[in-house]
């Protein structure tokens, strides 16, 4: 039987269970880095009045040696005011259990939203290594772009693409895979991305069925040959995009240059209101979308 003393235990247990069971889409497509040690800022709404409380870091440009580019820091607070009288009954037990799960779903949804918003921004975001100097990718280059330079200004210099401008189709997906397979480092060294499979195809709901047909079918659509894609793409992640539902990405998950860095593990806490009649439950997620200055491991398609 529950009591006000063990309500916190119930909520935290079901919260942890919910985090594990809900299944983050961000974790399926990108990297999740726990406890980066990065500072977080807890402030009011962001300057744009965005979904969460946000604060960008300082605006100075990043050097090439930076490991990640943090676009902003996010601390998400989800408050759930439960109309639960703090009296020990079986009903309150279930209420606390359910509240913990709801908080977990909110926390995971927050991380997912941050991640996929970040993905959409890659088509318009300046590349962290933009510039004409050694070790950079060229002037005015976006994170996903054509003609990204490697070994710029040195022997063996060349360019490569991680951007396609085609709606999702069999030929377009094949092109994306081949771009990954032949991708080179900034020193011009082949990286063999995706050769062992484990690629993730990210699409909007409108392309979910097509993605399934392209990836899961035994035979390819055009010539009924063995499906080249089947053993390379191991997962399809569907997420409702905000600005263009024709966008799609192919990500080598084990080498993903994008993901979510957690400042601390998601937590749930509980307190009674001052009148002692209600419980206030809060889940807290401190996390940030990151992109590596080295874009290896992702190809995107957007018809700009």
């Amino acid at each position: 039987m529950a009591s006000s003393e063990n309500a916190l235990r119930i909520v935290q247990a079901s919260f942890a269970q919910g985090i594990a069971a809900t299944g983050s889409k961000a974790a399926s497509a990108g990297r999740i880095i726990p406890a980066t040690g990065a500072a977080t800022f807890k402030v009011g709404n962001g300057a744009f009045g965005g979904i969460g409380a946000t604060l960008s870091r300082t605006a100075e440009s990043q050097s090439n040696s930076d490991w990640f580019t943090f676009e902003s820091d996010h601390t998400m607070l989800h408050k759930v005011l439960k109309h639960v009288v703090p009296v020990a009954t079986t009903k309150t037990d279930y209420a606390f259990e359910q509240a913990g799960l709801q908080l977990a779903q909110a926390a995971v949804a927050t991380m997912d939203k941050l991640f996929f918003d970040g993905l959409e921004g890659l088509f318009a975001a300046a590349h962290p290594r933009v510039g004409a100097g050694a070790g950079q990718v060229g002037n005015a280059k976006k994170y996903l772009d054509t003609g990204l330079a490697f070994a710029q200004g040195e022997a063996g210099a060349g360019t490569q693409d991680n951007l396609l401008t085609s709606a999702l189709s069999e030929a377009a997906l094949n092109s994306a895979i081949k771009l990954l397979l032949q991708y080179r480092s900034d020193r011009g060294i082949p990286l063999h991305l995706g050769t062992n499979g484990g690629l993730v195809l990210v699409v909007a709901p409108k392309n979910a069925q097509l993605a399934h047909e392209l990836v899961v079918s035994q035979l390819s659509g055009a010539d009924m040959a063995s499906n080249f894609v089947k053993n390379l793409v191991s997962d399809i992640v569907v997420y409702p995009l905000t600005t263009d539902d024709d966008d799609w990405w192919l990500i080598d998950k084990s080498n993903a240059p994008v993901g979510i860095a957690l400042e601390s593990d998601p937590t749930a806490r509980i307190s009674t209101t001052t009148d002692g009649l209600f419980y206030e439950m809060v889940s807290e997620v401190s996390c940030v979308f990151f992109k590596s200055p080295y874009e290896y491991g992702i190809v995107g398609s957007n018809v700009a």
Partner: protein, 135 residues
Amino acid sequence: MSKKQAPAAVVAGIPSGSLVMPSEADFETAPPPASDDDRPGRVAGLDYTAWAAAVIDLNAPADRVAKERARLLQKGYRQAGGSPLVSGWANPEVWVIPRAKYEANRAARLQRLQDAVASGRMTESALAREVVTRA
């Protein structure tokens, strides 16, 4: 042994084994210059510094092809003529747009992202740090 027989008449659809060689003069013609157009998805012969290209897979269902054509037209692309080759594509249809207009479209996409963040539909994750400005 009788003298050498002429090749048998070609039966439709079956190779006869006959061989027609290029002339010596054909080898004097300079080969076309090498390019990086064999990158997957690249349109052979297109000057990517002046143009951007979008490619439609004509093997896709007709409704998808029609929708994609309308979408490209709306975005300012125009269909390229001839029979262009696209690396890795068996049945492509190439649409092109001047590079300057393409960059303007990308800037418009950035503006849409900023608007979405401003209205609360997206988080600031969508914007690169240099775009995030504070009052």
